[in-house]
């Protein structure tokens, strides 16, 4: 009887810790300083404006480790965290040979990333990821995207 009770207790604690870790509200204490980066023009083309920018990747790493690492792993190294492995994203676009179509694909992935971070993920009433739009500016989100691209395998 005792082992079964302990098993159930452990399972309950695991579920509880998962829901706490996932969090329903974005951490308002996250601060990302993007002042050293070029400002994003209102009429800038769609997509990540900081792609390939080493300084942005550096800022993105700090931002990621403050805001995202709890669920996606420190430095995006996912060792069984509750969130998906973000280094495995965007594997379809590089395989596309046509540069025009490939660019369309990359812009779609960028837009999906931006919206996912801004709006979060809620499915059938369960918050899987909080909305970060009140905490992270688009520039801050693009630095995180740039950091992840710099680390992609």
């Amino acid at each position: 009887m005792a082992p079964r009770f302990l098993l159930r207790l452990s399972a309950a604690l695991l579920i509880l810790s998962g829901s706490v870790l996932a969090g329903e509200v974005a951490d308002p204490n996250v601060v990302v300083d993007t002042s050293g980066l070029p400002p994003i023009a209102a009429n800038a083309p769609e997509g990540n404006p900081y792609r390939g920018n080493a300084r942005a990747a550096e800022i993105g790493r700090t931002a990621f480790n403050q805001a995202c690492s709890r669920c996606h792993g420190v430095d995006a190294v996912n060792k069984g965290q509750v969130g998906p492995d973000l280094l495995k994203m965007d594997r379809s676009c590089p395989r596309i040979a046509d540069p025009v179509i490939r660019q369309m694909c990359i812009v779609d992935q960028d837009d999906f990333f931006l919206k996912s971070v801004q709006e979060g993920k809620t499915r059938v009433g369960v918050v899987h990821m909080p909305a970060w739009k009140e905490v992270l500016t688009p520039a801050a989100i693009w630095t995180i995207r740039t950091f992840l691209e710099s680390r992609s395998r």
């Binding site: 676009c93 179509i101 694909c105 059938v124």
Partner: protein, 193 residues
């Protein structure tokens, strides 16, 4: 003699089944207007009627308001895809993998969802009249206010499914199971389950 003929035949079949881009290059993803056939694509309001999208990886694609009537999506990966307000009437969706997908207020009249994997899928307000969900699995899915009248629900596994205010009148409920499902306000649900 037979073996080379067979391999040539199989090779021909596999090339014929590959999507072909506008440039005619095999293995390149197809693009319909601004809607590309890759994960996380933006396909809001796209006209995809009768298109063959079978076995494609369309995870996270936004098909909000799109017209996919009679499209072929068999065995496609639709994890996290959004079909809110889309028209999927008569679409062939057998064996789709659609965990976390959203079909809120979508039209799925006569849609074939046989053996579909629908974990945490949201069908709130959807119209699934005469749809085929035979042997589909729907753990933790929501069918709140959905219309399933005259649907084929034979061997459908509604585990922990939210069927509040749904309408199952005339649906075929043969070997259908509903463990831990909620039926408040549901018409035609087996409330004695």
């Amino acid at each position: 003699m037979l073996r080379p003929m067979l391999s040539a035949l199989l090779a021909g079949l596999s090339i014929a089944n590959l999507p072909v881009s506008a440039a005619g290059n095999p293995a390149e993803p197809q693009v319909y207007g601004t809607c590309g056939m890759w994960p996380h694509a933006r396909c809001r309001g796209a006209d995809l009627r009768h298109k063959d999208l079978s076995a494609l990886d369309l995870a996270g694609v936004d098909f909000t308001g799109a017209n996919l009537a009679r499209a072929d999506l068999r065995a496609a990966n639709l994890a996290g895809a959004i079909f809110d307000g889309a028209d999927l009437s008569g679409a062939r969706m057998a064996k789709v993998n659609a965990p976390g997908a959203s079909f809120r207020n979508a039209r799925l009249i006569g849609t074939d969802l046989e053996f579909a994997k629908l974990m945490r899928t949201d069908f709130t307000g959807a119209d699934l009249t005469v749809a085929n969900l035979e042997a589909a699995r729907t753990p933790f899915a929501w069918f709140v206010g959905a219309r399933l009248t005259n649907a084929n629900l034979q061997e459908t596994k509604f585990n922990a499914t939210n069927l509040r205010n749904a309408n199952l009148e005339g649906a075929l409920l043969r070997y259908t199971i509903f463990p831990d499902s909620s039926f408040e306000g549901c018409t035609g649900c087996p409330t004695d389950w």
